[in-house]
Symmetry: C2
Subunit: 304 residues, 2 copies
């Protein structure tokens, strides 16, 4: 198998792009794909100060590494959720890449904000860990971005994540969810701009990128992870992609275009009016935001 | 397994509806589902004169049988495509149900309209049989409906057909195709109203209906049928339905609602202006319709 570009020995075959590439040409291809995603969806430019949420996994570490390599002004941020060994290992991987490559990374702990670890918080408010995790991470990441003057918050969601989510939303025609599924969520009062620069890059390409770039990442899943539906949808998309290479990319790109033309433009669903949380100032639909309600509940329980 | 309605012995389990039913209660359920489809999408009413396209297969024969049993004014129409044994067998099944149950059925042959059989026509115009078949059947069925004063043309497309087509259209976001996928295509100048009363009824329910009602149908596929993609999509939908019963119905119903709200209402795609074919008067985008062009070509070849 020869590299389609330089005719040297290829290391990876990308059926979706009808390409075989050597290491060096694969990296060029990878950066070009990310760059196209950034430009096509107008995510940010070289003048932006980008905060990259890193978990220690392959997607987010690859994103931080790629953005810095491509010359963007990017800083990683790791939130230690204090979930035992998994969190320790994840933090080590983040600290390792920061130290070895001199990447700027902000490290914070959930207790700095909530007073307790994520599993304890979940126990105190009697909710599953997964149901709290997303909300709390979104809150803390947004707060760090706003407080420290970042213009953009980037996350490592990849093409497979987005396709699985899209398929699930479409099978049930969840119009509100579809309307919010976008590689770019613009800044609003109190909310930083959120972007997904890897939305057109597959999981397989990300694994190859990490191997070639020597990025050491956490391989184990979160001990609380329990997402049978999204794994099921990824399996379905895998079968479709194997039969018709390129479908995932067409499905996602086609959706974003369709969504912007029909859903966002024609949506009858009125935008809900956000006010500010009376405790912390975070945008919310009620008087007190979800984060502050969880925090208050935990403090009450501690005082009992 | 007991019938959920009458507690007698059940013969079929419908996981998508969380039901087990005996023969008699299944028939009630089947008619109720078809009736709901007709009413929900306002396909037709008891005052309409309905032409039902029958192929000799289970879906269309079940449709004719159900509509007549439900008290609709329905007449079957069979177009003999003259494709050898498959056509002979199909015609026999149609004639059998017509004779045994006293159902009115119009029988016509493709040569009455085109002068030759479908395989010969395909050969003459150097096109695959499947690429001609749909266009020719649509033309002849519409002409019979218009000439003989029918207000509606009904076809046997079932839930599985519609879901497979929908999935294919969505993976590629073929907006024009999506905009035309509807259980109801209203009448226009020169075109009869077209409806799909089985769009919410699964293939499995149709097989059960034919068995219970003693309907003898053609089991073999058309010898020219070559639809690997639609079979592949049916397999994908089967896996999703098995994992999450009821998804096919939600997917299809949700689409029709979504489509009518967002696609039809907001579509930027301008409707193409139809004129009348200068030979036969059929609505067309050019001077001569596709059917007349094929016919002309065949006549020229015969004269050579």
């Amino acid at each position: 198998m020869k590299c389609k570009v330089c005719k040297g020995p290829a290391v990876i075959r990308l059926r979706s792009h009808n390409l075989a590439l050597c290491e060096s040409c694969f990296l060029d291809f990878f950066y070009r794909q990310v760059s196209r995603t950034i430009k096509r969806y107008r995510l940010f430019d070289k003048g932006d100060k980008i905060l990259v949420g890193v978990s220690g996994g392959k997607d987010s570490l690859a994103l931080l590494d790629a953005l810095i390599t491509m010359g963007y002004n990017a800083v990683g941020v790791f939130i230690d959720l204090e979930m035992g060994y998994h969190s320790v290992e994840s933090k080590e991987k983040v600290e390792k890449i920061a130290k070895e490559r001199g990447y700027p990374v902000i490290i914070r702990s959930i207790s700095d904000y909530l007073g307790v670890s994520l599993p304890v918080a979940a126990q105190e408010v009697k909710r599953p860990v997964c149901s709290l995790c997303g909300m709390i991470k979104r809150y803390i990441l947004n707060r760090i971005a706003m407080d420290e003057g970042f213009s953009v918050l980037a996350t490592g969601h990849n093409l497979d994540d987005e396709c699985a989510r899209l398929l699930g939303n479409i099978l049930d025609w969840r119009v509100d969810f579809l309307a919010r599924q976008d590689p770019l969520l613009d800044e609003e009062e109190g909310l930083v701009r959120k972007v997904k620069p890897l939305a057109r890059t597959s999981e397989r390409e990300l694994t190859a990128y990490c191997i070639i770039r020597g990025i050491d990442y956490v391989q184990g899943r979160c001990p609380y992870a329990n997402k049978p539906t999204s794994y099921f949808y990824k399996g379905i998309m895998f079968q479709i992609e194997r039969k018709m290479p390129g479908t995932k990319l067409r499905f996602y790109q086609g959706f974003v275009e369709f969504k912007r033309e029909y859903l966002t433009a024609c949506s009858n669903t009125e935008k809900q009016e956000l006010t500010r949380c009376e405790r912390c100032g975070y945008p919310t639909l009620s008087n007190v935001c979800n984060f502050c309600r969880v925090k208050e509940r935990i403090e009450q329980r501690r005082d009992e």
